[in-house]
Subunit: 143 residues, 2 copies
Amino acid sequence: MDVTHDEAADNNAEDVFRLVVELSRKLMGEYEAQLERLDLTLPQAQLLRQLGEPRPMAEAAERLRCDPSNVTGIVDRLEKRGLVERKSVAEDRRVKQLELTDAGMRVRTEVERVVSAMPGLEALSTSDRDTLKDLLARSVAES
Amino acid sequence: MDVTHDEAADNNAEDVFRLVVELSRKLMGEYEAQLERLDLTLPQAQLLRQLGEPRPMAEAAERLRCDPSNVTGIVDRLEKRGLVERKSVAEDRRVKQLELTDAGMRVRTEVERVVSAMPGLEALSTSDRDTLKDLLARSVAES
DNA sequence: TATTGTTATACTCTATAACTATA
DNA sequence: TATAGTTATAGAGTATAACAATA
């Protein structure tokens, strides 16, 4: 970015793009640092969070927005640690239902705790944060 | 997220976190789709963008916020395509200056074009975008 | 025939540690 | 001794294609 030219004249998508990515990077960085303490990668944590209730692997893949073949590996690693189990379903024996173990539920609770305590937005007042939320929601909602 | 409960009561960092990440994901997704057409990964595009002027590899690593050993591979791939060159520096023969080739400059121009045409924020008016920019900038600036 | 999940494969990014060559 | 860059290694995520079991 050229920082020498007139800032006031700027009102383009590029600035917002850069700032959104920068802020996201900052917040995600803090999030991942917390996850590292739980020995979880981002996809692993996303998967745990999904498993508030059991889901078939295909559904998990869809939510993770990745190919189903990847879920096999992600689940393998979580299953090896005893956080997740693959359960067969009687109605359709092709399907494997992913289910948290007790240990998995405890870790999931830790992840939720991290998320709900997410720091990094202390600079904004309550009303500013409301405004930001509104603008972000409208940007995200856009087709 | 539970969308059935009272939205007005919400004003916590978790919502903003989720929205920032979601919007970032959306914008980055569009960005990466464009980069794919240029056969560039994200780190490769970031590196090209940095090379408006030549830089030592260590400096590139710092800007990419990754270990210097990774830059070797990223540069290898770009160099193999003739987009970047490693130039030795007389003053300190340990250093390798990264420099764009003519082809690299052309690709970099394409990347800059993609960035400056970033779509995905059409839902906001000019003044809303200004507000969003301001709020994001303050959030990012926060220590 | 179509679908669910796995396997095989290949690639990029990531970090750490050991190494070379310079300084 | 310290620094710049490379190499070796290992691991995680990503996609594609081929496969087995099941529907």
